[in-house]
């Protein structure tokens, strides 16, 4: 089976398509319309926040997607890394290389977020003969990758999307993530990784099985949210701490405690 045919099958199987030619919109980023999705999504309803991967992505709320962009300069390669100053891309030149090249970076997405789309912008000099795989993994105790995607390679920088993926980002404490892009070995190949974009949104944790407070049973309409505050150390309840008093009015003073603890407010003094 030829490589190009295999990619076609994989791409179809994973619901990946999206061939959007580079355009000057979004300050030079290419068009970001995902196509071939299971449920077509209107473009206008998708992009909400754009953050660079080098900064803390701090879009708040549970609105539609925050987009973390990981530029080529943030990737490190196993074999042939250097950065092309003209395109700010991670470049791999491959002559008689026996192994595929892996280039990877770390991903900053908060725990509890849902990752829905991953886009890869790349170009190659051998149309149809180079592929990229994107690996997003959880490495706790050698656990397996969360998703593997296959993207076609192109002449000219093109962004392809995979999704919707519906990946729930697990707890950070004992887990770590890697975004790994594999560039296949092929003689004379010259591959550029422009950037990877990750579309994610925040969620509030699912509630625990056992209530923390006597007056907030699992059936309480705000159960999930009150438990989220308690588990995050933002509230210790009211009175002795056995209850939360969900219907008591909040004073402005209490509000200050909630907010400053939630955000760890700290100022240069």
């Amino acid at each position: 089976m030829s490589k190009s045919i295999r990619w076609g099958i994989l791409a179809a199987g994973l619901g990946i398509a999206a061939v959007a030619k580079a355009s000057p919109e979004h300050g030079g980023w290419t068009s970001r319309r995902p196509t071939g999705l299971e449920t077509p999504v209107p473009l206008a309803s998708l992009p909400k926040q754009l953050v660079d991967g080098s900064v803390d992505p701090r879009a708040f709320g549970v609105q539609d997607y925050t987009i973390t962009v990981l530029s080529g300069t943030q990737f490190r390669s196993s074999g042939c890394f250097f950065t092309d100053p003209a395109t700010l891309s991670d470049v791999c030149y491959c002559d008689n290389c026996p192994e595929p090249d892996h280039t990877y970076t770390t991903l900053d997405v908060p725990a509890g977020a849902i990752i829905d789309f991953i886009g890869v912008n790349n170009q190659t000099n051998i149309e149809g003969s180079l592929g990229m795989t994107l690996h997003f993994r959880d490495h706790l105790g050698g656990s397996a990758q969360l998703v593997a995607l296959t993207f076609p390679a192109h002449e000219g920088f093109v962004t392809d999307f995979g999704g919707p993926l519906g990946i729930l980002v697990p707890d950070h404490k004992d887990r770590a993530f890697i975004l790994d892009v594999e560039r296949a070995a092929a003689d004379g190949a010259q591959t550029y990784l422009g950037y990877v974009e990750v579309w994610w949104r925040r969620t509030v944790s699912e509630p625990p099985a056992t209530p923390s407070f006597g007056d907030v049973p699992t059936s309480h309409p705000f159960y999930q949210f009150i438990e989220a505050l308690a588990k995050s150390g933002i509230t210790g309840g009211c009175g002795s701490g056995a209850n939360y008093c969900p219907d008591a009015p909040l004073t402005r003073g209490q509000m200050a405690v909630f907010l400053s603890k939630a955000l760890g407010l700290h100022w240069p003094n």
């Binding site: 909400k48 074999g79 970076t105 770390t106 490495h139 950070h172 402005r252 003073g253 509000m255 200050a256």
Partner: protein, 252 residues
């Protein structure tokens, strides 16, 4: 190709503990910032090529590599420990990988640079166990952008980094995979002069109300000289607090 790449991933999955999600949990809980090897830059010619197992190796006899990564934690973060992930097959204890935190003074043109290693933040690899993680002693360091880096009695502007030392070992193999920093958010101590007349230093919520004021989230009640800590919060006021605190912003 598929088989070969598959085996690479199996090895990586079994051994890899670097890589990172920048921890962004909220609230008063300990959390972990993992600074993966891809975030580090080589200093003075130290090569930045990683191996396919996601580790940096030093295989050049007689050489010493240095790497840096920015420490992306918020002002006031309380750092509780620093752990190093790496590989050390050298049981001679002569060569080891070392990770540490330091603050670099931002100096005006013409002034001498200065750096301060964060006390207790060093983690050393040791032993012949191969892949492993090694941690500093438990520590308690509050990250501040303003501190006296060169101990001259004047507070400086500073930026914090993770530093890494990766020598070549003549009796084993040393490699670096990443750094894991345990930290938690904390609320500033209250200032010496209260901001609001009705929230003196002795008020149980003084520290928290001062934090809101200093962060620009509240301007007090009425003419702004008081905070009215015991007044009931309306849903409208709640909207202002939340929207300002989180800088809520959306794109049409």
């Amino acid at each position: 190709m598929k088989t070969r790449s598959g085996s690479v991933f199996l090895v990586a999955a079994a051994l890899l503990v670097s890589s990172a999600v920048r921890a962004q949990s909220y609230g008063d809980q300990s959390q972990v910032l993992t600074v993966g090897v891809s975030q580090f830059r080589g200093v003075a010619g130290s090569p930045s090529t990683i191996e396919s197992d996601y580790y940096l190796y030093n295989q050049v006899p007689g050489s010493y590599y240095y790497y840096l990564a920015p420490l992306a934690l918020p002002e006031g973060a309380l750092i509780e420990s620093v752990c190093l992930f790496g590989r050390d097959t050298d049981d001679e204890f002569l060569f080891y990988v070392q990770a540490y935190l330091f603050a670099n003074k931002l100096v005006p043109l013409g002034e001498a640079p200065a750096a301060l290693q964060v006390p207790g933040s060093s983690a050393f690899s040791s032993g012949s166990a191969g892949y492993g993680s090694w941690c500093s002693e438990p520590m308690s360091y509050t990250l501040r952008a303003r501190l006296d880096v060169d101990a001259d009695g004047t507070v400086d502007d500073a930026v914090h980094y993770v530093g890494l030392f990766l020598p070549h070992s003549i009796s084993g193999l040393l490699a670096f995979g990443g750094v894991k920093i345990t930290w938690k958010r904390q609320v500033s101590p209250a200032p010496s002069a209260p901001t609001f007349g009705d929230v003196p230093e002795s008020h149980p919520f003084s520290r928290f109300i001062e934090a809101l004021a200093a962060s620009g989230i509240t301007g007090g009640c009425g003419d702004g000289s008081n905070y009215c800590p015991n007044a009931a919060l309306t849903r409208g006021q709640m909207a202002v607090f939340l929207a300002k605190a989180l800088g809520l912003h959306w794109v049409e």
